[in-house]
Symmetry: C2
Subunit: 359 residues, 2 copies
DNA sequence: CGATAATATGCTCAAGTTGAGCATTATTAG
DNA sequence: CTAATAATGCTCAACTTGAGCATATTATCG
């Protein structure tokens, strides 16, 4: 076979070499992490397991996502491993599951050495499920906006943005002496701030959840950043030295994984009929709308939403009415699962409403 | 911490348990695989390294993507590991790099045990680069349509679809006695066939590269499927018993990774200005268009394409003209990299032209 | 019982976007 | 000079999108 790596003498590994080389240093353990989402009472919720891990300060208990190591002897694929884990830990049989990203950053509490000396790499997953009442002991559904209070714009711009985040980020951006090459490719601090948080009149992009999280992390404004040994801008800037907290932290890199899940889900809602995974078998169009709005953190125009859903052939009428919600009775609909086998790319394709209320 | 997994007694692993349990069986090696794309002479090309691995039949040499194991001791992140690998193997300093997916399927030659007993999981990456002439010995740029001859529709529907693929798939679909539950969720064989390959008047979706590849693999029509011990529909159905080959095969799961890269790139072209990563510093709009068309495997409407690019503020005029291509001289443009810091989501948003020629 | 609140649902309309094609202009090849 | 090849400008109908008006149907409260 061709020799490709003659310049650096260290290691000329290729396909076959992969099996010849010493693998000791290269072995890692893959942690499978699930961001399991449901929507109830107009709030998107994720399943968390509280853990008194090494990360959390003694007084606090940071939530974690359900997770466990991938055992290649036991499971044929990563997905199967994840499903099995979740089933074991929470008794939930997952339906919709989607792999998000594999994080291997050392120093972000994902890529740390465990007690056996193995490095851990995290694979993040998004799972959607209808709401199930009785969960296991210890596991709980938590409103995802508790971890991301700046992401819910349904009642207007969250106060935390102008009151807390923007000033701290401005300080951070002002403190930028010279952009590192890395920062130049990603845009300068002030630009990223404006773009991601919709400052100075830039439009809010509901899908940039991960970008916003990473920016806050880089700026040292999150507990996780402090934990990871970053300069803690919170105590440095808050003045009072109070323990400022921008959203609840999570263990390991789990808040980052949740941010990835939120970004992906918000994006996907617009071009794939995934919202229906979260709905009961029959539902009214307004119920569907509220679910979507909860996830997007935005209101959409009610009449246009119906037009989209109905004309898109995504639902079929059941003929049955419900008076469940005060007001004129609403017709109940059913998801037309067949669309998946009809058109190549069905979806919701929705644009956020510019008017506040969805009347 | 909460006990979550009492039902199945095997293993009650949680965050902290992750470090207590025996990790021996769970250690894996992560293979980093790069689908490095460039476009030259109106063809998208990927960098391959030929290898006489265990997969290939004695007489053949199946191409592989550049790859190597991730060494957590040496590299802080997976991305850095990949860049370093590629640099070593091919002397290419990658610019744009994007993680695609982590494949861990046993039995698809990704998740096999190597000689040290370690299981291998593949992480696929997409990288974009301008064309560089002098590559390393052994590494070569190969037209990606050699691996996917059914994906290039620029000169009309590829003959291989109606002549070879459709009949074989129809046989396969007809042979479906009863759908497995798995097949039901993914749609029945005949539906998937129609949707993915645009049969019976369904519109061709250029982004479904991975779906098409997986369908062909499942149907046993690809060499890789035969290698993995699947019923080989090729010899079973071809009649003559000839060695039919639908596109060049690749080692391991590399053709699958390439399919993932193609899907992602074709999708991304439409909402992010990634095409410019493949262009020289100055270029004419038609050159940009040809590059995009090569990647999509489709023609687009020339005038509308310009409108989109120009009005979208993606480029700026240089004022210089070139007569390089016979015909009226074209103005040269430059990518306005600033757009990345201006609007939240710039992109090309192009729709394939319905008329064949781009006049 | 009538007014009010809270939806549900139908419809309209202007503005913007998209797909397609015509017309004109500037070069090179022959 | 003519044909071929592009580049570029412009138009236009069809469709999509964003927004709002109007009306219908229920529960509830006084």
């Amino acid at each position: 076979m061709a020799k490709l790596a003659d310049t650096k003498p260290k290691r000329a590994v290729t396909g076959t070499d992969l099996s010849n080389n010493d693998m000791q240093g290269k072995a890692v353990v893959m942690g499978l992490n699930a961001a399991i989402v449901t929507v109830s009472e107009d709030l998107p919720k994720i399943l968390v397991v509280p853990q008194a891990g090494a990360n959390a300060a003694a007084s606090e208990s940071w939530d974690a996502l359900p997770f466990g190591p991938f055992d290649p002897l036991r499971h044929r694929t990563l997905d199967i491993g994840l499903r099995d884990w979740v089933q074991e830990q929470t008794h939930l049989a997952l339906g919709y599951v989607e792999q998000l990203y594999t994080f291997g950053d050392r120093g972000r509490n994902a890529m740390e050495v465990n007690e056996d000396g193995a490095h851990v790499v995290s694979v993040g997953y998004l799972a959607l499920t209808r709401t199930h009442e009785s969960e296991q002991e210890g596991a709980a559904w938590r409103d995802w906006y508790q971890f991301f209070p700046w992401e819910d714009w349904r009642v207007g711009k969250p106060a935390i943005i102008e009151q807390t985040i923007a000033p701290l980020l401005r300080d951070w951006a002002a403190g930028q002496t010279d952009a590192t090459p890395e920062e130049l490719t990603r845009g300068k601090r002030r630009d990223r701030m404006r773009l991601y948080f919709g400052l100075d009149g830039v439009h809010w992009d509901d899908e940039k959840v991960l970008e916003r999280y990473e920016l806050l992390y880089e700026a040292g404004l999150l507990r996780e950043a402090a934990r990871d040994g970053r300069r803690n801008a919170l105590t440095a800037h808050a003045g009072t030295g109070h323990d400022l907290m921008i959203g609840l932290p999570m263990q390991f890199d789990h808040r980052r994984i949740l941010a990835t899940a939120m970004s992906r889900l918000r994006a996907k809602l617009k071009y794939r009929p995934v919202a229906f995974e979260l709905m009961p078998p029959v539902f009214t169009l307004y119920e569907l709308q509220r679910t979507v709005e909860a996830l997007l953190g935005l209101h959409v125009h009610k009449q246009n939403f119906r037009r989209l859903v109905e004309k898109g052939g995504l639902v079929e009428r059941t003929g049955k009415m419900t008076t469940r919600t005060g007001g004129r009775p609403a017709e109940q609909f059913r998801f037309r699962r067949e669309v998946l086998n009809e058109r190549p790319a069905p979806g919701l394709r929705l644009a956020p409403s510019k008017s506040r209320a969805s009347t």
